[in-house]
Amino acid sequence: MSSFNVRPHIQPDAVTRLGLDQVRLGSAVELPRSERSRRHLGRSSTAIPQFEPGFEPIFRRGSRPAIPVGDFLVEKVRTADGEAWRLRCDAEELAVSTAGDDLLPWTVDPADPSIVYIQPGADAACTIAKPDGRGVVVVSEPGRGLFAYDFRPRTGVTAIPAALTPVRSPAPAWITAADPAWLAELIRSRAQRRGPFNAAVSVGIWSRLREPDPTSRMLALDALLLGASDPDLERPHAFFASLPGGVQRAVLEGALAHVTALHGSLDMLVAKLDLESPAWRDALLAALHLRDDIESALLLLRGAGQAEIVESALRPVDRSFGLFVRSLPRPLRLGDARLQRVAEVDHDAWWSAVPVLR
């Protein structure tokens, strides 16, 4: 065990970025990597990981319980995407920040904002802080392992450092007005999930998939042809522009994390191809929805000129997944209104190419 105030071995700029030079660090707690966990993975849960609540702890009865680190309890759980660490505490709101060369996917439990799931990368760090300034930093140190340190403010200052990313970014209220009813319900359910990425997805879905009445459409196009703005078309981009930089970055990081998840989905779908299996079809449908979620977030990122890194990461998986989907025998009736609508508004979107009920 490290002694009090020994810093984790991460890059100095990451230390600064995470505000760790402003806090007092507690003792290091090593989070064990579970060698046996692979055998428990990929059971029947083929859903794309949205970190839905109810994931099972990997440790069986009689083995390691949750590990206390400061005010947090840390335990390893099994998700459809592999292992993740669940951190929970008694706060109503948490601020998350990441640093490091590797991607570090994280999300807040949609049902409980005091729970955060993270998947540590090979060389990455993540801080999760409470409003009182106390929190935990999880550091993956190459060659050494995975460590968690609790921290507290050096002084009585309780404000969350500016470097940290507020987790809650509620979606705007205007997106709930949409036709038809299935679209309104889809947007509402996405907007209820916490986190900047989910808020961006709900706004993107609203913009991409709604069909305004003919008069509104004509007025919008007239404005565009005259070089003027239309309130409804402008609204999603104005919303994204109004978000703090850290929240915008969280959307981008969320999109990248979901691109990684998409790669994993494709591998699984190819390996376990079984067209008659309802579980396989569900997994395919979930993957297609995941791609559409990414496209919805990309709408906002493109408008802000921040899409390049996500598009670059997407290109290879778009090629491979597109080929795979087009090679599936037809008809493969999934009967999904969302994908049908995507096919209407974006006809060369490969994720809408699986024939749907019309």
């Binding site: 913009s207 196009l221 078309l233 981009h237 994204f240 008809p331 974006d346 006809h347």
Partner: protein
């Protein structure tokens, strides 16, 4: 502004854009509006499309493009004027078809159109002009010629390339792909489905009908056929990226592949079914055309 630039620059105008981007978005809208109007005139000439309908289709397509914009750089996006035009044509046709479908849901045979004719009367009256008939016949001939050419390219170029690529990666893999494609094509032309093929395999192996075994064989066939199709589709995409296929040939190849390498449970693709019929009429051989070399 050229069509490709317009395709990429179209996006909603707002405070989030600089002056140059706003100007580009406006110019892009104008270029695309003009192109879509022209394409709608050309593609939706049938008598059940009036001027108002064509305007509605143009505004629907343009609005959808703006709402999704800016386009970004997605894999497979058109990169030349031909490709963008093809993209727009598809969008116009789809929107036209959706407009008609929406109408059919609400129309009864007794409803009258703006000329005072009921649908029932119109179905009995061929009110197409001679020019329209001629144009449709000419379009059908062109389509036949394109599908013929696509068939030759598929069997003489695409499939041999795919087979050779597989063989390079693993000895024997090319031959296995070749055999699978022959089987797949034969099954598609005979309108078989995977379940029937799996049953036939069981019978040929002298095995009793067992649901579990049938399921296993069906799943194995699905996998084998899916991988074979993926290899062919990958080759088509590679050739398109190399600039060997123009937009029309690429589209025609898609139709040939759908007709010859997909097993249909129902005839829900009229074009694929009619293409298969045309292939049979011409007596194209099943096993000819692709060889390992």
């Amino acid at each position: 502004m050229d069509l490709v630039a317009a395709f990429r620059s179209l996006q909603p105008i707002g405070a989030h854009l600089g002056a140059t981007e706003r100007r580009d978005a406006q110019n892009a809208a104008r270029v695309l509006y003009g192109t879509l109007t022209r394409l709608a005139q050309r593609e939706l000439r049938r008598s059940d499309f009036g001027d108002d309908d064509r305007d509605s289709v143009v505004s629907t397509v343009l609005y959808r493009m703006v709402a999704q914009g800016p386009r970004g750089a997605r894999a497979g996006d058109p990169t030349d004027e031909d490709g963008v035009t093809g993209w727009l044509v598809t969008a116009v046709r789809n929107a036209g078809r959706d407009l008609q479908r929406g109408r059919r849901r609400h129309r009864s045979l007794d409803e009258v159109n703006e000329n005072g004719q009921s649908l029932g009367e119109r179905l009995r009256v061929d009110d197409r002009s001679a020019e329209e008939v001629q144009q449709q016949a000419s379009a059908a001939q062109q389509q036949d010629a394109a599908l013929d050419k696509a068939g030759r390219v598929l069997h003489a170029v695409v499939i041999p390339r795919a087979v050779r690529n597989k063989e390079r990666k693993a000895e024997g893999a090319g031959a296995r792909l070749h055999v699978t494609l022959v089987e797949l094509r034969a099954a598609a032309m005979a309108e078989n489905d995977v379940a029937s093929l799996a049953e036939a395999e069981l019978r040929a192996a002298g095995q009793p009908f067992d649901k579990k075994e049938l399921g296993k064989r069906r799943a194995a066939l699905d996998k084998r056929f899916q991988r074979a199709r993926e290899a062919v589709l990958a080759e088509v995409e590679a050739m398109r990226e190399e600039g060997l296929l123009d937009a029309a040939l690429h589209a025609a190849l898609g139709v040939r592949i759908q007709a010859e390498l997909y097993l249909q449970k129902r005839k829900d693709s009229l074009l694929a079914a009619t293409t298969r019929e045309a292939i049979r009429r011409r007596g194209e051989r099943l096993s000819g055309g692709f060889t390992l070399s």
